[in-house]
Amino acid sequence: MVMASSLLVSAPEGLYCPTGDFFVDPVRPVRRALITHGHSDHARAGHGAVLATAETLGIMALRYGAQFAGTQQPVRLGEVLRIGEAEVSFHPAGHVLGSAQVAIGNTRERIVVSGDYKRAADPTCPPFEVVPCDIFITEATFGLPIFHHPDAGEEVGKLIASLRLFPERTHMVGAYTLGKAQRLMALIRQAGWDRPVYIHGAAEKITDFYIAHGIDLGEIRKVADAGKTKLPGEIVICPPTSLADAWSRRFADPVSCFASGWMRTRARARQRGVELPLVISDHADWPELTRTIMETGCREVWVTHGEGDALVHWAQTQGLKAMPLHMLGYGDEEEGGDQTEPAAET
């Protein structure tokens, strides 16, 4: 099935808008790019001109240096811009700080590119906003009906309960350094944990960035500053890859925890040697994906990446046109790829 729109086509670099001559989240350097959020699989360095929310531009500058693109233009959520023949606006996606969906329209139709998103509450970023559209281009990282993310507060409750049970052991929580780590800190505070939370060096800059944007994360300390203590009974947040490497040996009989939507299946948790899986995700689960598609009122669904086949099948049973784009290059940093952190940050 070939599906195309005059507004947007799928190209090797990413989604391309011919009438506006720009790409959304291109995976290779292009002349003009619109970026949905700061995760490195969506936000890459080396474009000519970049349009994104101020927070996303700030995160890109943190990761790639201030000169990450030829020119940078911040856009406010809800502001409507004209680029060539296309009208463009950004709307909150609820994924991480600065994350946005991109709406592209002309007089005939409107397309929304979701980027990565979730519907669950997140104290560190504004909630997802439903944007009515004709074509909804969605992610499907957790696009299988087995994926139901439980209430994140209850998952953090398991962590707190384990800390009470094993007060002599350090609880190392693997969490992606941009977004998940800070959401976890905020959730830990909501759960009433008021001891300092310790973080790995890789999470320092982003965490400072969140705090500078007025997000209250309580007292955050760096593991590097903790001296010789093995931090028994404390929470240490680190990149997932650090759970199993030599870095973890400095702690007191650590309990290996991992906050990720992938922890929903046992095999994934066991493959990583995780003792306490916490099902906390910044992506939409199956009920959120299907509900969002219906709420946009779209007639067509394109699936960029993730478990696209199931979501496409479901959309077709709902009478929608749907197709998987099987786009390569997404899901490398975030949960989609289950991969290592970018080396630049360690």
């Binding site: 009906p145 087995i146 095999a267 066991r270 493959q271 289950d338």
Partner: protein, 552 residues
């Protein structure tokens, strides 16, 4: 059900053996009869329900979930019980079964599963699934579908059991064959208010002693004078037990290595054993097919494996034979505490006296030092294996003074397998795996080059799903995702041309003709030994190279 589900859940996430033992012993100590007995039965694989089968579960979920969505989910999760537990529609009612007083719940479920008729089972199972939470549903479905796959072997469960009264796990193994769920006399003994159950089964299975794979560095610490060597035969290990039943009639049992009674698959052999008038003995040996006095390769034996019934033609074409290598029991005497050299001497007498056509001795290999044994291993035909060399897959080393210790004790028995064959093949298709490797693309179909109608073409020659590290698995998974050119249901086809493709070094134990494979050959025990990121795909091996390895 609560406690049992909690136990399985915690076991599944507990990485250390010690931690698992602690969880198990703790459960057995603090759970009452008969629940703990049924839990033990589930852990040791002793439960099987004639009416509650995986097909029933598939039917129930098919009524509730779109079949395509179920298939995609199952492909991802790689475990039927877990897939269904996750997909089962959450019930609006509170979880009675999980919350109510837990005592007896597991026993009630197991006994109901045992006794309920085919027609009433679906209704009962649905009611339970509706009442349980996700964890409980998973545990219940594991119970029904069998094969818990939580990293606990029957041996480990029995070891945890032995810790209840500080006895040795082998004491439990000895009495185990005479026991059945819920094991009340066993627990009474372990709790200290009952006598030890008797091991009185005339034809009981005795847990085999196993060997460690030997590595080069091990030879430095071993003295050749302490060991005797024999061929490692490429058949299946069996245990033959003969003894008088309660009614005085002679019984014969043929057990697999894991204790499964495989007598029914070999009625001709069982009949022959009866005729040989062996009685009151138990010995280990290799089951082989011998035609015209020549041992056949494993592929021939395979024709007779995993069959519930066996035709007269199969029996005539593939006559079974046992090559004996250890004597465990004879005339009321347990020989296992004796040194191997004495057991071997008794075995030689026993086999000679039986003078049976289906039975012979596994010959020992004379060697003065390790280099001499290495030479024999490299060329078994020139040593004393003669015509049977094709069925030799290496040598076994047994300490002459070692008792027969069930399990895999350190340093007593070693296996020194023949070096595997290796070939460079090209990755063609990939599929998601099950169990430990589920949700990753971990099943790889690979091919070799051959002359095609329009130049060289790849033909699939085999499939492998292990041999790589966890890190390599992630790299392979990523490679498959990034190089998919076609999807056939769960199977992904990846780029495989002379210009572009991934070369996998495949190790395997042998190869034979096969009508079931497009290439006409089937490899034995293939696994990925190396990923050749560096090697151009056009330089991978050709089918002819593999065909030359087929024994004539």
């Amino acid at each position: 059900m609560n406690r049992f589900a909690e136990l399985l859940d915690r076991l599944a996430f507990e990485p250390s053996r010690h931690g698992k033992l602690r969880l198990l012993t703790d459960y057995f100590r603090h759970t009452g009869d008969p629940d703990r007995g049924y839990a033990l039965a589930a852990l040791t694989g002793a439960l099987s329900f004639s009416n509650a089968k995986p097909a029933l579960i598939r039917g129930l979920i098919a009524e509730r979930v779109d079949p395509v969505l179920f298939a995609l989910s199952y492909d991802y999760v790689g475990d039927l019980s877990e897939t269904v537990a996750l997909l089962w529609p959450a019930s609006p009612r509170p979880a009675d079964l999980a919350r109510n007083s837990d005592a007896g719940a597991l026993a009630t479920i197991v006994e109901t599963l045992n006794s309920a008729g085919r027609s009433e089972l679906p209704r009962l199972i649905v009611a339970w699934l509706d009442q349980l939470d996700e964890k409980g549903r998973w545990a219940l479905l594991k119970l029904i579908t069998g094969g818990l796959r939580i990293g606990v072997s029957a041996r480990l469960a029995k070891t945890a059991l032995a810790a209840l009264n500080g006895s040795d796990v082998n004491e439990i193994e000895d009495v185990w064959p005479g026991l059945s769920p819920p094991y009340l006399p066993l627990f009474a003994w372990l709790d200290g208010h009952g006598t030890k159950p008797a091991a009185d089964n005339a034809v009981q299975f005795r847990t085999p002693m196993l060997a460690h794979a030997i590595e080069d560095k091990d030879f430095e610490t071993l003295d050749p004078g302490d060991y005797s060597a024999e061929w490692k035969w490429d058949g299946i290990r069996v245990q033959v037990a003969c003894g008088a039943g309660k009614d005085g009639r002679n019984l014969v049992r043929l057990y697999s290595r894991t204790g499964e009674d495989i007598s029914a698959a070999f009625p001709d052999l069982v009949e022959a054993i009866h005729l040989s008038r062996l009685s009151d003995v138990c010995f280990d040996g290799e089951l082989l097919i011998v035609l015209d006095g020549k041992v056949q390769p494993f592929g021939v034996l395979q024709q007779r494996l995993n069959r519930k019934t066996v035709s007269a033609k199969l029996m005539a074409d593939y006559p079974p034979h046992v090559r004996a290598y250890d004597l465990l029991y004879e005339n009321g005497e347990d020989l296992r505490p004796l040194p191997f050299s004495q057991r071997r001497a008794r075995l030689e007498v026993c086999v000679r006296q039986a003078a049976a056509p289906w039975l012979d001795l596994s010959p020992q290999i004379a060697f003065a030092d390790w280099p001499a044994l290495a030479a024999a291993r490299a060329d078994p035909a020139a040593a004393n294996a003669g015509d049977d060399a094709l069925a030799v897959e290496g040598v076994m080393l047994k300490r002459c003074d070692s008792a027969y210790v069930p399990g895999r004790p350190k340093g007593l028995w070693w296996k020194w397998k023949r070096d595997p064959f290796v070939l460079d093949a090209v990755l063609m298709y990939a599929q998601r795996g099950h169990g430990k490797r589920s949700s990753y693309y971990s099943d790889y179909t690979f091919g070799l080059w051959r002359d095609g109608q329009s130049g060289d073409e790849l033909v699939p020659v085999g499939k492998a799903y292990f041999g790589f590290t966890d890190e390599e698995l992630k790299q392979l998974d990523r490679y498959v995702r990034d190089h998919t050119i076609n999807r056939f249901g769960p199977v992904r086809e990846v780029t495989a041309t002379a210009k572009e493709g991934l070369v996998l070094e495949v190790a395997f134990e042998g190869v034979q003709r096969s009508t079931r494979h497009r290439s006409g050959v089937a490899m034995r025990f293939p696994r990925i030994s190396r990923i050749r990121w560096d090697k151009p795909s056009r330089d991978a091996d050709r089918l002819e190279t593999l065909e030359k390895l087929i024994p004539v």
